[in-house]
């Protein structure tokens, strides 16, 4: 049987690989096409031939401004598939909304999941545009268009945001019984890839955060694991 050839999509911005994915994954096609139509960004469609070959990124691919919407700065809040009313409530509080306005954010979009607390659409002085919804199949799109993401500590949401290189505040849900979920967020916060907060400290975290101190997250690679599995099974390493 011939080894399958996989296509990859890579977005290069200012010489840095912003986004890459084995094609197709849900949402990827739409998002890329939207980018193509809205901004002069570079898309490389590459063929990966042979086994275990590296993705050879087109280093000479062009550059472009991906987000042209400079006047709107959206904060996206996501609780994933969980129920995390404490986060929605705290985001809905005047203190947090005021902190967001002071930091120059103009829009607040809340994905509230299975929670029952409904946030108010009107902020204190009406300058922060608030919107909310329960679930969406295209969470990645919201993350992509956000200037700041405030997320629950689910690993799916965390890595989705880091992959998009968006500033991220992770809020740990203290109501969960088996509360090991702060482990990942705290480890990544120690490595300065994100900020970690509790519902009651979110306002302060927003006031005190300096996005410039965050360092980009370099995605992991499954190749060493697969290579060890192959070695164990007696397959030649290639």
């Amino acid at each position: 049987m011939v080894a399958p050839r996989e296509r990859a999509l890579v977005v290069v911005y200012r010489g840095v690989v912003e986004y890459s994915s084995i094609f197709p994954f849900p949402g990827v096609k739409e998002r890329i096409y939207r980018l193509v139509s809205s901004a002069p960004c570079a898309i490389s469609r590459l063929n990966r031939g042979g086994r275990g070959a590296d993705l050879h990124l087109a280093s000479r691919a062009g550059e472009g401004i991906l987000m042209g919407d400079r006047e709107r700065r959206t904060v996206f809040v996501t609780v994933g598939t969980t129920c995390f009313d404490a986060l929605v409530k705290t985001v809905d509080s005047p203190q947090v909304k005021e902190a967001l306005l002071q930091k120059g954010y103009t829009d607040l979009v809340i994905q509230m999941g299975r929670g029952t607390y409904v946030p108010s659409k009107i902020s204190g002085d009406g300058t922060l545009q608030v919107d909310y919804f329960t679930f969406s199949p295209s969470i990645a799109d919201y993350i992509w268009h956000a200037s700041l993401v405030i997320s629950h500590a689910g690993s799916g949401s965390i890595f989705e945001t880091l992959r998009h290189s968006k500033p991220l505040i992770v809020v740990v849900n203290e109501d969960l019984m088996d509360n090991h979920q702060s482990e990942l967020a705290e480890e990544l916060a120690t490595r300065r890839h994100l900020f970690c907060a509790r519902p009651q400290t979110l306002g302060e975290t927003i006031q005190e955060m300096d996005i410039g101190t965050l360092t980009p997250y370099v995605p992991g690679d499954a190749k060493p694991v697969v290579s060890l599995i192959n070695k164990f099974l007696g397959f030649p390493d290639d």
């Binding site: 197709p24 965390i158 890595f159 090991h180 979920q181 992991g220 694991v225 060890l228 099974l233 397959f235």
Partner: protein, 209 residues
């Protein structure tokens, strides 16, 4: 993440228990026989791939996309009955392989998708979860036995690879602890170096996400 992790654990647990049971029987039956490594290189190795939910499926799919598909075939994907997203992701990926495959019919047969009862839903009480765990475990045993006959046809399934979730930085999950302590997994991967220091028999080979 808590619920996601719990879901992954409660989905994986019956599968792991069944693996333990079937493997024990297998080892008792074939003790003294080492699987022929040469025979596996000619054909594929039938692989059972256990998917969790949320970020855990993404981790596993990163491994699957990197695997040499002709070696690890056919692939049996298992996910929980109430988890609609995970198998869908696996199906989308397998279909993307079919498109570039020379022999389409063969490629379709290379992947099968199965759903399994969950031993415990998030928030379910521990008392009722005894019954659902028993149901889930027997279902898992049935699935593994059903796949196994072809395994005996010389393809040499005997290797279990466990990859602890990236969400586990300081402590192993229940499934992970079980496999580690009972030495069930042939290779046990963790994704953080500090976890490897705590569990020295584990292997740290980088992060998947």
């Amino acid at each position: 993440m808590g619920p996601d992790v719990s879901m992954a654990v409660y989905c994986a647990f019956p599968v792991l228990v069944s693996l333990l049971v079937v493997r024990f029987a297998y080892v008792m039956y074939h003790s003294g026989h080492l699987p022929s490594k040469l025979s596996t290189s000619a054909a594929g190795m039938r692989s059972l791939i256990v998917l969790g939910s949320g970020g855990h499926t993404a981790e596993m799919m990163n491994v699957v996309t990197t695997l040499q598909k002709d070696r690890f075939t056919p692939r049996y994907y298992v996910a929980a009955l109430t988890d609609n997203m995970s198998l869908q992701k696996a199906q989308v990926y397998e279909q993307s392989l079919v498109r570039v495959e020379v022999d389409k019919e063969e490629a379709v047969e290379n992947a099968q998708f199965m759903q399994i009862y969950r031993s415990r839903e998030v928030g379910q009480s521990y008392i009722t979860s005894i019954a659902t765990t028993l149901l889930a475990t027997s279902h898992a045993i049935w699935i593994i036995i059903r796949i196994r006959p072809q395994v005996v046809l010389g393809l040499g399934w005997s290797s279990i690879f466990y990859i602890e979730s990236i969400a586990r930085v300081k402590k192993l999950s229940l499934s992970g602890l079980l496999l580690y302590k009972l030495r069930i997994a042939d290779q046990f991967f963790v994704q953080w170096p500090q976890l490897q220091q705590k569990y020295p028999r584990a292997c740290y080979a980088g992060r998947l996400m």
